[in-house]
């Protein structure tokens, strides 16, 4: 384990430079982890992001326009209509499961 030795002569450099950022053995250079890794990532946000990406793919595929299509046979360019024609049936997507949300409480400082 290193200690705080080997940092040269700090007096020569004045004390403007934070000593914990100095080089040499035993120092603690670098920035804090909180900067390296960013703020805490909320996993629920991540799941939302995945759904968002799926939605973006869905939109980019042109399939989102399908909602305005009545007769699949009239829209051969639509990937969903094409699929429905191929399958010969139409199905509804499953209803998304609604995850419970947090009920935040009023805070009283004692």
């Amino acid at each position: 384990m290193n200690d705080a030795s080997g940092q040269g002569d700090p007096m020569d450099e004045g004390i403007e430079r934070p000593w914990w950022l100095s080089s040499g053995s035993g120092d603690a250079g670098g920035k804090a982890n909180s900067e390296d890794f960013g703020a805490s990532w909320d996993m629920t946000s991540m799941l939302g992001m995945v759904s968002s990406l799926a939605g973006q793919w869905w939109a980019s595929s042109g399939a989102s326009d399908h909602a305005a299509h009545d007769d699949p046979a009239e829209h051969p360019e639509c990937i969903v209509c094409k699929g429905l024609l191929a399958l010969g049936s139409a199905t509804r997507p499953p209803e998304p499961e609604v995850l419970p949300t947090v009920r935040w409480l009023p805070i009283r400082r004692a």
Binding site: A4, W19, S40, T44, M49, I107
Partner: protein, 315 residues
């Protein structure tokens, strides 16, 4: 398993040294040593659960969260397979990593209880809740780092991590030529951190040598439930450093039949969930009363959940 980390990257060696001194028989591994690819693939499949309501725009953050969760899972399962204690060196903010894992566990319990990883994640959360996952943090005596350490410790305690202690290192030494003013300021910052984190072992390096940290008393920070004369249940918990965080308190239910199954604490944006016992699950949280680091939440019995006649039987 003892997690060792540092607020600054180069302080990691200090944390490892203190952890070694604290648990001499332990094997030391780096969190990044573990191959998490299989778990990442499995988790990526798991996040296909429906019901997500939030939208985020940081794909790298999401992938990073999955990767960190996977590596912590691998490290925990490695540690569980060993007879001797294991020190895991974490090159990130430990609360962030643990919070990701706990959040994913809660989501999978609600959305995919049959998924194999749900049980694996739950076993880690159980170990954390029982104080079997400890944490030792190193921080330099610099004001911004001290503030970061304060918040991290509060977040870690809220998540249920068992805090071995905080090592302040390195300290400026007279032998190395540091002026008196700088050395005094560093010692004052150590004392400030000791005040901020009352009840947590905060030690500084002396003469370039690290000190050891003993296992903390788990019972001292366990939430306490009492009943007042009006029939309200009071849940109290003390989170060292909480008064230095932006704090939100709420309740969350993973079972629709209960008003709440978890107390939720959000400290500086990090979410921690604390499981409620069978009594409090049948009650409705009224408010959160905050005094210093202590948070008290009164719970009123929900008449629909808990007929008055059977109240005592259910206790």
């Amino acid at each position: 398993m003892l997690l060792a980390s540092s607020v600054t990257p180069s302080g990691s060696a200090w944390a490892v040294s203190a952890a070694r001194a604290s648990v001499p028989s332990a094997q030391v591994v780096e969190l990044t040593d573990f191959d998490e690819r299989d778990v990442v693939r499995a988790l990526a499949a798991a996040v296909g659960v429906p019901g997500a309501t939030r939208v985020a725009d940081d794909l790298s953050g999401a992938l990073s969260a999955i990767r960190r969760t996977a590596t912590l899972m691998a490290a925990f399962e490695f540690a569980e397979s060993k007879h001797d204690p294991t020190i895991v060196v974490v090159d990130a903010a430990v609360p962030d990593v643990v919070a990701d894992l706990c959040s994913l566990s809660a989501l999978l319990r609600a959305s995919a209880p049959e998924f194999e990883l749900t049980d694996r994640l739950q076993s880690i959360c159980d170990a954390i809740a029982k104080g079997r996952v400890e944490w030792l943090l190193a921080v330099p005596p610099e004001s911004a780092a001290i503030e970061t350490a304060t918040v991290q410790v509060a977040q870690g305690c809220a998540l249920g991590l068992s805090m071995r202690g905080v090592l302040v290192a390195p300290m400026p030494r007279k032998a190395d030529g540091w002026p008196t003013g700088i050395r005094r300021a560093a010692r004052e910052l150590v004392e400030d951190l000791q005040d901020r984190l009352f009840g947590i072992a905060v030690k500084r390096v002396r003469g370039g040598r690290v000190c050891s940290f003993s296992s903390p008393d788990l019972d001292s920070r366990s939430p306490i439930v009492t009943e007042d004369s009006g029939g309200m249940f009071l849940l109290s918990c003390t989170i060292p450093g909480a008064r230095y965080c932006d704090l939100e308190v709420g309740v969350w239910s993973e079972e629709p039949s209960y008003p709440g199954t978890h107390l939720v604490l959000r400290l500086d944006g990090l979410t921690a969930r604390m499981e409620l016992d069978s009594t409090l699950r049948r009650c409705v949280a009224v408010e959160a009363v905050v005094a210093g680091d202590t948070i008290t939440v009164p719970f009123a019995p929900d008449p629909g959940q808990w007929p008055a006649a059977s109240k005592e039987e259910n206790r």
